[in-house]
């Protein structure tokens, strides 16, 4: 039998890029995770990263440009900007977490109930969600914080409640998908009641869809809370909020740009990293 051997130069036998590409896209994004780990450590143990006091400055050291002693330079009161950024991380991260927590819990519950029970309840909650979605979320947050009072916790509540609708919408559609799967019907057949089915079958399957969204919303919350702080709707000075620092620095932007750029870039790096991470979480599901 004459063997027909493959031509060694046949282009189709060459392994291609696809394999390496899939391997890379499956991996955890390294740089974003590193950024987030550093930011997380700043929030937990700021003292490890800087020994300078974020609140008390030395007037003699006003407006020093970035140097080895002062990585991000100093501000108009001679305070170390790096120290202020590091110490400002904890309130920024905590309020953002709180805000996302509110949106996640209330929004998920609303969407879950609306999607699962359907009917009138879904119609009412659905229209409510539509209305909330129609209002720009930052504007909504401003309205809430103005009516509750200027404070960090209120800013978190404001930002969180403006993201409720987003969470509700996503988990509602996921619930609609899951509740019609055979395994849900099957759990009724083996004697489950509606609440058991809702919380023990539908919820565990549906909540995964909002995990990626929660990570994404965490970044949005950091931006919105900083925005509120920038407008003066957060903690009053001398707090070290990132948004407040940008607000303080904007008066000196032309001559001492590091006052705005340092906290601004940290914020950008954090939010971009969160977006990247959210995308890989969403894909990993």
């Amino acid at each position: 039998m004459a063997a027909i051997s493959a031509d060694p130069t046949d282009p189709t036998t060459a392994p291609t890029r696809t394999a390496t590409r899939t391997a890379r896209s499956r991996a955890v994004p390294v740089v974003p995770v590193l950024v987030l780990v550093v930011v997380g450590l700043w929030a937990v143990v700021p003292g490890l990263f800087t020994h300078q006091d974020p609140f008390v400055g030395d007037p003699a050291l006003q407006f020093l440009p970035p140097s080895v002693q002062h990585v991000f330079g100093t501000d108009q009161l001679g305070r170390d900007v790096f120290a202020r950024v590091v110490h400002g991380t904890r309130p920024a991260v905590l309020t953002a977490l709180f805000a996302v927590g509110i949106g996640f819990l209330v929004g998920s519950l609303t969407g879950l109930v609306a999607g699962f029970f359907g009917g009138v309840l879904d119609a009412v909650l659905g229209r409510f969600i539509d209305v909330v979605l129609a209002v720009p979320s930052f504007l909504l947050a401003v309205i809430v914080v103005v009516s509750l009072g200027f404070e960090t916790v209120n800013a978190a509540i404001a930002v969180g409640s403006s993201s409720i609708a987003v969470f509700a919408r996503v988990i509602r559609s996921e619930t609609l998908k899951v509740k019609n799967l055979p395994f849900v019907e099957s759990s009724y057949l083996v004697g489950g009641n509606r609440f058991q089915v809702l919380f023990q079958h539908v919820l565990p399957s549906a909540y995964r869809s909002v995990v990626a969204l929660a990570v994404l919303q965490f970044g949005v919350a950091i931006l919105n809370i900083s925005g509120l702080a920038f407008l003066g709707y957060g903690s009053p000075p001398p707090a070290a909020d990132w948004g407040l620092q940008v607000a303080d620095g904007k008066d000196f932007l032309y001559r001492y740009p590091w006052l705005v750029y340092a906290p601004g870039l940290v914020m950008v790096a954090t939010v971009v990293s969160l977006n990247k991470l959210s995308r890989s979480v969403g894909r990993g599901r």
């Binding site: 493959a6 189709t12 394999a19 019907e185």
Partner: protein, 563 residues
């Protein structure tokens, strides 16, 4: 039998000299690494005017082979070996050159007709597209296209070709669409027709007519056919040669009669032993061993059930007065094609739907009129085994928790007693304790269906409704699951209501059968009666459509079949 084999092999020798398609040592890897290949060293030939069937389970690589031949693989896949079409190596061909072969020389009939036509274009435009691409002399004149399309569709057996040409795909049935697709494949008069599971998305009676059509077309045009299928009986009935694939390797390769009657490889032997239509009495012995009926009272009596959906002109009468009963400890089958109302009937028996009229008596109680508390008690006796184990088990639960769930819901036993019972149930279906902490995603289809059976049995139901329990599974696994079901019936005197469109499985498993069509009972009786002496025209057609029914040695009507 010997003469048949000789006849086939001599025919094969004739063809071998003029192989139209020759695949030699084909190795394909999706990951790009040939050491970790999906298909390994597959060789076969398709002669002029010959039908060759590639048979294999899901994941056997049969579609990969076809996609390689058609050059439809991803760019990332690595390929080694050679594919010669009409004497020409095609793997190394430039895509531009190959495009002249694909469609024109090699026609393709896809698996799922409903998703293979463009839903927003009318059929006439999609047929004409093939004319435009063909470059054949008879398609040069655009003015004749419509007439040609009409006669083409007529030749594939569409009753009203003008109407079909004016239709959009959603206005035609699956069988009609498959005819259109075959017509499109034929429009360019290909030398080779590749059909990838052309009937697996269609009802059995339509399956037969579509396969007959392919045979007829082949006889008229002298084209060769490469048929991909999971059904060995179908393959041996339709093909001259059979290539049995498993795990990406050729297990056996030869004239279909030889493979069917004298399989040499272990895998082919197992396959031949498991194909239901070739082994109609596989479970006869096990069925005979079952105890005499425990009680004379039937477990389920359905009488004159009617159900309709929708209103006005959209009203569909799904069930129009259906009656049947399931004897204790026996299996009753509901047979019908899609739209016959068999699934609606199953859902009514489980009170997942409420009938408009009629009674559903389980142990003397009318399930259709129970209140919530009564239903909860009644459901302990009524459980369902779903068609698709990939969606009927909660992916977030472990096996242990899935099987224990019914016990927890009905508060049966203490935690420790439940644990013992779960372990016992899992062993009953042929699994062991090591499976308990696993989740469905870590199980194969057959293992999942075993878990689903264990879960359905947890409450000791009297009646188990089996909704096409094996149609999502491969042949070998299907045989194992059916074995489990038969054994359990023998041990516990379970009664089954078995819903299926697969008549050969019904013939294997059931004692009595009701044939449904458009919500009406066409025929009912014992399996032997209905299969050997069908009284209604429809039942006769169903029985005829069993693949392999016409093969010697697989006499459907015989009480003891060889195998």
């Amino acid at each position: 039998m010997t003469s048949t084999v000789d006849g086939t092999s001599s025919r094969q020798v004739e063809h071998a000299t003029a192989a139209l398609l020759a695949v030699h040592d084909l190795t394909v890897s999706y990951s790009g690494d040939l050491a970790d290949a999906t298909v390994r060293e597959v060789s076969f030939e398709v002669g002029q005017g010959e039908t060759v069937a590639i048979v294999g389970e899901s994941g056997s690589g049969k579609s990969t082979v076809v996609n390689t031949v058609l050059r439809l693989l991803d760019h990332g896949a690595a390929v080694r070996g050679a594919v010669h079409f009409a004497g020409r190596e095609v793997l190394g061909l430039h895509e531009k050159e190959f495009r002249r072969l694909r469609g024109r020389q090699i026609g393709f009939v896809p698996q799922d007709p409903t998703s293979s036509l463009n839903p927003v274009r009318r059929i006439d435009r999609q047929v004409v597209e093939a004319y435009r691409a063909s470059g054949l002399p008879e398609h040069r004149d655009q003015r004749t296209w419509y007439e040609q399309a009409r006669s083409l569709l007529e030749s594939v057996g569409l009753v009203d070709p003008s109407r079909a040409l004016r239709s959009y795909p959603h206005q035609l049935s699956g069988g009609q669409l498959q005819r259109v697709l075959i017509a499109i494949a034929l429009a360019q008069r290909p030398a080779l027709l590749v059909a990838d599971e052309p009937t697996s998305a269609l009802d059995v009676t339509i399956q037969k007519t579509v396969l007959d059509l392919i045979d007829q077309v082949k006889a008229q045009s002298g084209a060769s056919v490469l048929l991909v299928t999971h059904d060995l009986a179908l393959a041996s009935e339709r093909a001259d040669k059979v290539v049995v694939l498993n795990g990406g390797e050729v297990q056996e390769h030869g004239p279909s009669h030889a493979v069917l009657h004298a399989p040499r490889s272990d895998y082919a032997r197992e396959l031949v032993g498991d194909v239901p239509s070739l082994n109609l009495d596989k479970f006869a012995a096990a069925k005979r061993r079952r105890p005499e009926r425990a009680s004379a009272d039937p477990v389920l009596v359905v009488s004159d059930v009617r159900k309709s959906f929708g209103r006005g002109e959209h009203r569909v009468d799904a069930l129009q007065g259906v009656s049947f009963l399931v004897e204790a400890g026996r299996t009753h089958a509901l047979v019908g094609e899609s739209g016959s109302g068999k699934s609606t009937l199953a859902r009514i028996a489980l009170r997942l739907e409420v009938p408009d009229q009629g009674e559903v008596l389980v142990a003397g109680q009318d399930v259709a009129r129970l209140d919530r508390a009564g239903l909860r008690v009644a459901r302990r006796d009524l459980q369902l085994l779903y068609q698709n184990p990939f969606t009927s088990l909660d992916p977030t639960y472990t096996v242990g928790r899935l099987v224990a769930e019914p016990l927890r819901r009905y508060r049966i036993g203490t935690r420790d007693e439940r644990r013992v019972r779960v372990a016992e149930l899992v062993r009953l279906v042929g699994l062991d304790d090591t499976y308990l902490p696993r989740r469905p995603a870590a199980l194969s289809g057959g293992q999942r269906q075993r878990v689903a059976i264990a879960r359905a049995l947890a409450l000791n139901p009297r009646l188990l409704v089996l909704d096409e329990p094996t149609s999502a599974l491969d042949v070998v696994v299907q045989a194992q699951i059916l074995q489990v079901l038969v054994d359990l019936q023998g041990r516990f005197g379970l009664s089954y209501l078995f819903i299926s469109h697969d008549l050969s499985v019904v013939r294997q498993l059931a004692d009595t059968v009701t044939v449904l069509r458009s919500g009406e009972v066409q025929e009912s009786g014992t399996v032997e009666q209905v299969f050997s002496r069908p009284r209604s025209e429809y039942a006769r057609r169903l029985v005829d459509s069993i693949p392999g029914a016409r093969l010697p040695g697989a006499d459907v009507t015989a009480d003891v079949a060889g195998g």
